[in-house]
């Protein structure tokens, strides 16, 4: 029997096995993965390394493991032959790229849980290949025609969509933060394909991959149905490369930038808030300072004021932000004072700063937001105003009434301003802007909106409750753990070492810590 028929037969053993009890299915997949790891270490798979037709014997939907391992060997071979990490075959539309794309859009999410490291390496290569192709096009066009074609944006898009689909295929909840998260947002920003990142960005992250040896609740078989993906997206699984503090900060900064590009200011503020309130004992990271600068501008755009950092931000970090982002704070004060001339002057004075920080686009939008925020503020003082009076209040120099009316109606129509307009028969007579409207929407509509929001919040809360349970368990805070800890204390007596905590340092808990709650 040839090796090919051996492999086909080994893989076929797994077909239609997903109806088996999870322990049995788990055993079969583990055996298959072990088999391929053995073939890989003994270099037996090398005989297929250059066989372009080999992979056509397998369907990634049902033969994910053999497909992944052989593809990996073929990629390594191409890298060796070309002495290049990203050979031409692995670039978009190359032969290996096509196979990788076919695999990443069709693999079996359960089988791949057992080969997380190999999956991650493939995802990273696809990401790197699309980025590298983009760089190559950039250099080519600079030397060829002196201009950078939009082609450089297209290649990261190829990678971004594949990476996103692969992530969602492996873990539809995307609840565990992995290195692929960062790769995805980076590719989406490079490709200017912002909404491409949303299916992942919009999902709540609850965990980092837990380290080896930590117990988790639920079934032990990786293939079983798990309430939370943290059970199988572990450090040992290799689905994520080693994560650093910097990766975490970068992901939320880049995610915030995606939301900014889509003008979803509220979400952007949430992401930036995570970055600027990250715990820091050492000198503040530059990423956090960058995020704070954007936080100030997005705060003006969303809320019309200089927003304080989240309350959990340490005071010394806030002081650092305030000293390093001085021009932004001055700009925000000018905005808050409602002085358009001063705001314009500050924007002109700080032009070099905004450009150097790549924030000029946001600053330009702040000027646009000034009008809407000023009108919203007027609504807190007046019940109604004619458009002519409003124009005098908002603009320092006279502006055509039609311009003001058009701007106000745009604000109301886009629902940025909660007010209504009342026109009169006479064209010459100015329209009336009513802030406290008697023409409010029927109560039913308001309640429907509210109910819809509540439903959305409830979905998030359900996910939070499930994942909180997992986190408690991982941290040793579950009810079962506390109960057994209590029993252990009773049994062991005061002089003996606790059987569960053992002699490990750092687990001593001051029981009076919660005294103020009683």
């Amino acid at each position: 029997m040839t090796l090919l028929s051996d492999i086909i037969s080994a893989s076929a053993h797994l077909h239609n096995s997903n109806h088996l009890p999870s322990d049995e299915y788990d055993r079969r997949i583990r055996e298959l993965v072990e088999y391929f790891r053995r073939l890989q270490s003994t270099k037996a798979l090398d005989s297929f390394a250059s066989d372009g037709t080999f992979l056509s014997n397998f369907d990634p939907v049902i033969d994910s493991i053999p497909y992944l391992f052989v593809l990996r060997v073929q990629i390594q071979k191409a890298q060796e032959i070309n002495t290049n990490v990203l050979p031409a075959d692995l670039r978009p539309s190359g032969k290996l790229w096509t196979c990788a794309a076919h695999f990443l859009t069709n693999f079996d999410g359960v089988q791949v849980r057992y080969a997380g490291r190999e999956w991650r390496l493939l995802v990273e290569l696809v990401g790197q290949a699309s980025q590298a192709a983009s760089m190559a096009s950039r250099l080519f066009f600079q030397s060829y025609s002196g201009s950078i074609a939009n082609l450089t944006l297209l290649q990261p898009l190829l990678g971004a969509k594949l990476v996103r689909d692969a992530m969602l295929r492996l873990d539809p909840s995307c609840a565990v933060f992995t290195s692929s998260h960062l790769l995805l947002v980076r590719l989406c920003l490079q490709a200017k394909a912002y909404s491409c990142a949303l299916p992942v960005l919009d999902k709540q992250i609850f965990h980092f991959p837990i380290s080896q040896g930590r117990a988790f609740s639920g079934p032990s078989a990786l293939c079983a149905d798990h309430a939370s993906s943290v059970s199988f997206m572990t450090e040992a699984s290799g689905v994520s490369s080693k994560l650093s503090y910097r990766d975490y900060l970068q992901y939320f900064l880049y995610g915030g930038m995606v939301y900014m590009a889509l003008k979803e200011w509220r979400n952007a503020l949430h992401f930036l808030g995570i970055v600027i309130s990250a715990p820091s004992t050492n000198p503040v990271s530059l990423i956090m300072v960058e995020a704070y600068k954007k936080w100030v501008l997005v705060g003006l755009l969303e809320k019309g004021k200089l927003c304080s950092p989240p309350s959990i931000t340490t005071p010394h970090v806030v002081k650092v932000y305030q000293s390093l982002a001085r021009p932004y704070i001055i700009l925000a004060h000018a905005f808050e004072h409602g002085d358009l001339k001063r705001l314009d002057a500050e924007i002109d004075a700080g032009k070099g700063v905004w450009c150097a920080d790549n924030n000029f686009g946001l600053v330009s939008q702040v000027v646009g937001a000034f009008f809407s925020q000023t009108v919203i503020k007027l609504g807190k003082t007046f019940a109604a105003l004619t458009v002519a009076d409003l124009s005098k209040q908002v603009f320092p120099s006279p502006v055509c009434a039609d311009v003001t009316r058009s701007a106000v109606s745009s604000l109301i129509i886009s629902r940025a301003l909660n007010a209504t307009l009342v026109q009169t028969k006479d064209h010459a007579e100015s329209s009336m802007l009513r802030f406290s409207s008697i023409h409010s929407l029927p109560r039913l509509s308001y309640e429907s909106d509210l109910q819809s929001q509540l439903k959305q919040e409830m979905r998030i809360m359900e996910a939070l409750v499930i994942n909180l349970g997992e986190t408690n368990n991982n941290l040793g805070l579950s009810d079962e753990y506390v109960d057994s800890l209590h029993k252990g204390q009773v049994w062991s007596g005061s002089n003996e070492v606790n059987p569960i905590v053992g002699g490990e340092a750092g687990l001593e808990m001051d029981e009076d810590l919660m005294g103020d709650m009683s």
Binding site: A149, L153, S195, A261, S414, V422, T424, K425, S448, Q451
Partner: protein, 221 residues
């Protein structure tokens, strides 16, 4: 499932299909990868004219479907991903840019002018017409919530109706609004809109709040 090859026939079928906008968006999103690969020839002057026609049709349709699904910011991002040479030379994509500018600046009159007055390829007509009705409906809802009283001519401009006829208080123009429950005051010559309520897409669960409270109670216990 992988999409069939990107061809003019395939695109034409999609465009004329009456599929919901979200489905059209999904289908066209899947084709963008193929469009990317085809367009890699654009810069190296390897693209044939049929490729350019295909890309023009693809990107124009994709752009219109972005608007049809109310993704204006992403439609703008799409225009940054279209190969520059194609974007500058192709009349259909130029129309898309003009339309984007009008939508972005909420110039309602200009939007209708672009949709009705500019020469759109025959294949794109179904999408152009769908977007026009979508834009009209969306505007009608927004105006009904934004005005307590509005002149007929202003309302007509918002909906792309004949402004001259509106000034003459044409009964057909008036009936466009009165059939939505708006009232026409003959004395003041003003329309009084009735706010249009859009029911949420998902059916509401009556015990949703109770379930949420029960869940909180469980955790608090």
């Amino acid at each position: 499932m992988e999409p069939a090859s990107l061809t003019i026939e395939q695109l034409s079928q999609l465009v004329v299909s009456n599929a919901p906008p979200s489905q059209l968006f999904e289908a066209l999103s899947r084709y963008e990868l193929q469009a990317c690969i085809i367009s890699t020839g654009v810069g190296s002057h390897n693209t044939s004219s049929s490729d350019s026609t295909l890309l023009s049709l693809f990107y124009s349709s994709f752009f219109l479907v972005h608007l049809l699904t109310d993704q204006v910011s992403e439609a703008r991002a799409l225009t940054k991903r279209i190969p520059e040479a194609l974007l500058q030379q192709d009349p259909s994509l130029q129309n898309c840019l003009t339309l984007l500018r009008a939508v972005w600046q909420t110039e309602h009159g200009q939007v209708y002018q672009v949709l009705r007055g500019l020469p759109w390829p025959e294949v794109l007509q179904p999408l152009v017409q769908r977007y026009e009705s979508f834009f009209q409906d969306k505007t009608l809802i927004a105006v009904s919530r934004s005005y307590e009283a509005i002149r007929l001519a202003t309302a007509a401009t918002y909906l792309g109706l004949n402004e001259e006829l509106a000034k003459q208080e044409d009964s057909n123009i008036i009936s466009n609004f009165t059939k939505c429950g708006w009232t026409w005051d003959l004395e003041s010559k003003l329309l009084h809109p009735k706010p249009i309520v859009v029911s949420p897409a998902e059916p509401q669960s009556s015990n949703g709040i109770r379930k949420a409270m029960a869940m909180l109670g469980t955790r608090a216990a």
